[in-house]
């Protein structure tokens, strides 16, 4: 059941939203709004992220590489052009690449906004799809007219080769140029599993990893199949995020336990990391290592059990990403932050500016450098 933003957010379409137009992962002028535990707002340059962390903290990022999930081709029965966007897979098993849930569009490309794209021809079970070198069959209509389950023919290696040759990253109408795979792989991309980039990871270059280490901040990764951000269909969008498989390495679960024991904060790089960590939460602040499936929706009623803070892009009220932020802070704080992002011209969407949101009222976690209001009390208490 989708949670709606309170009416007090106001009509979103009248907000002044500046989308990032260039696919630059770490633009020199990138901004970072830090929201501390008592709701105070601080403006930073994004490269100052490392300075917001302290020795003993643990940064956890999603190392999913982004799939070339957009496949143009033909709906064979009607001969009509379609675009198929891969949107969901059951597991992260590299051999399990035959079955996907997909969003199907009619003719057109990314120059048209997703919500304005043509509908696909009516899909029926058994319909053949010719997608470059790949062949697939419609197995199930999940939600007409766009959402279907398909099965690719051939071997796993053949499907990977077909995706590599014919697939393109899912594109965004707000960008000037078409994205290539190297634009959407974060520097730490390791396992091709994401349908759209886990874009908070764009902030992490290798130098910042080195600076984290020098500061005594630990770094660990998990793999989470970050899903699509929009389907162009309001009813479908209300179902986002879909269930997403993830895997937490034993070494990462261990690092979380260690950080907890030392009183360090667990900082999630991106909403997908929050989702995986909370799905695998054991209740005592630790997480269960291994594979899992994130099925929960995180929102204002969620009690966060692992994540103390999240680094994320700027999200618009009403989106599922924004709902997740409401688990971290009260609406009044987020409303103020949203206003501040608008006023200061923060850029939104993938390749935009960032927010560092600390969980509200987590008493033990007020130690963020530069946050002068509360820390002293807690350090002595």
């Amino acid at each position: 059941m989708a949670l709606r933003a309170p009416a007090s957010w106001g009509p979103h379409r009248h907000r002044r939203v500046i989308a990032a137009r260039h696919a630059m992962q770490r633009p020199p002028g990138a901004k970072l709004l830090a929201i501390d535990g008592d709701g105070a707002l601080h403006h930073h340059a994004r490269h100052e992220l490392v300075d917001l962390l302290e020795a003993g903290d643990l940064l956890v990022a999603n190392d999913a590489a982004t799939l070339p999930a957009s496949l143009h081709g033909e709906h064979v029965r009607t001969g009509r052009e379609i675009e198929v966007r891969l949107a969901q897979r059951r597991t992260l098993d590299p051999r399990d690449v035959h079955d996907f849930t997909v969003v199907v569009f009619g003719r057109g490309d990314f120059r048209t906004r997703t919500e304005d794209r043509e509908l696909p021809p009516p899909l029926r079970i058994g319909d053949a799809l010719a997608l470059g070198p790949l062949r697939a069959r419609v197995e199930r209509i999940v939600m007409a007219p766009r959402l279907a389950a398909i099965r690719f023919a051939g071997t796993a290696a053949g499907i990977w080769a077909g995706l590599a040759r014919h697939g393109r990253p899912i594109q965004y109408a707000h960008l000037d140029d078409a994205l290539a795979l190297w634009d959407v792989w974060t520097p730490i991309a390791a396992v091709p599993a994401a349908f759209e980039p886990p874009s908070a990871g764009f902030a992490l270059d290798w130098r910042s990893l080195e600076r984290l280490r020098a500061r005594g901040v630990s770094f660990a990764t998990l793999t989470h199949a970050a899903g699509i951000s929009s389907t162009g269909d309001a009813a479908l969008d209300a179902c986002l995020p879909f269930d997403e498989p993830y895997r937490i390495p034993a070494s990462t679960a261990e690092a979380i336990g260690t950080a907890r024991a030392r009183g360090g904060r667990i900082v999630a790089v991106g909403t997908t990391v929050v989702r995986a960590l909370e799905s695998a939460a054991l209740g005592d602040g630790r997480v269960r290592p291994g594979p899992g499936l994130a099925t929960q929706r995180i929102g204002p009623r969620t009690r966060l059990r692992v994540a103390d803070a999240v680094l994320t892009g700027t999200h618009e009220p009403g989106t599922s990403h924004f709902e997740l932020l409401r688990a971290f802070a009260a609406d009044a704080i987020l409303r103020r932050a949203t206003r501040e992002l608008d006023l200061r011209g923060y850029r939104t969407h993938e390749f935009g500016d960032f927010v560092f949101l600390q969980k509200e009222c987590a008493l033990a976690h007020f130690r963020m450098k530069g946050f002068s209001r509360a820390p002293r009390l807690w350090k002595q208490g």
Partner: protein, 241 residues
């Protein structure tokens, strides 16, 4: 000795470029025999299919590491096929000019071809796979890049200009990368396999006495043994840290 050591490769995920001839093919064979999960890359679809058929469970990838646009499709298939990566062997090489010639007779494009295959290709592929290698090192499995070098990288052999200069660049690139990535526990190593009886050597020195050249299988066994000594302890004992 070599066989005991190579047991360390059991289950590790290894990618080898230039995997359908010479040293690369010998490495594919040896790593496959040692139980590694192997992905290999080569330019010719037919040769890739042949080698893939001979090595059950291996992932054969058609691509040219010298081409920028081939790198991410190759990386996607390596990481997709293996579910990650523990060891990358940048083996594919180009002489740049055949037959060999003095630098003064080498066309710019021939030098560029050698640099594209021997320096830029390994650089780009390593960068694309670095996140996976970091994850592997973090889990105590691997995180090793092995760049195949040559004595031409350190000795100024007349006639080997394009090849020697490119291999020298690769060797230095490896050393700097190794220093920079030490904190991430990723190792970037380079190794000189010696003069081998390979198609590349035959193209460079057609009248060589082949009986004096090292069989690639011998070089491959030596290299894998040496590589295993560099793996994290967890990988060597088969226990992920």
């Amino acid at each position: 000795m070599a066989t005991i050591r190579n047991a360390a490769l059991d289950g590790l995920r290894i990618a080898i470029t230039g995997g359908t001839s010479g040293l690369g093919l010998a490495l594919v064979r040896a790593a496959h025999r040692a139980g590694a999960r192997v992905a290999f890359v080569a330019r010719t679809a037919q040769a890739v299919q042949l080698v893939a058929r001979e090595h059950a469970g291996s992932t054969g990838i058609v691509g040219d590491v010298a081409l920028k646009d081939d790198i991410h499709p190759i990386a996607l298939q390596v990481l997709g096929g293996l579910g990650g990566l523990d060891i990358l062997v940048n083996n594919a090489s180009s002489l740049g000019r055949v037959p060999l010639a003095p630098l003064a007779d080498t066309e710019c494009e021939e030098l560029e071809a050698a640099l594209a295959a021997n320096v830029l290709g390994p650089f780009r592929l390593t960068r694309a796979l670095l996140g996976a290698l970091r994850a592997s090192a973090g889990e105590g499995r691997g995180g090793v890049v092995l760049n195949i070098s040559s004595d031409a990288a350190v000795t100024a052999y007349p006639g080997w200009g394009a090849y020697g200069a490119s291999k020298a660049a690769l060797r230095h690139l490896s050393a700097i990368w190794n220093a920079e990535l030490a904190g991430e526990r990723i190792q970037v190593l380079s190794v000189d396999p010696g003069d081998m009886d390979t198609p590349l050597h035959a193209a460079a020195v057609p009248d060589a006495d082949r009986s004096e050249l090292k069989p690639p299988a011998v070089a491959a066994a030596e290299i894998l043994e040496w590589l295993c000594a560099h793996l994290p302890l967890g990988a060597r004992t088969g226990i992920a840290a």
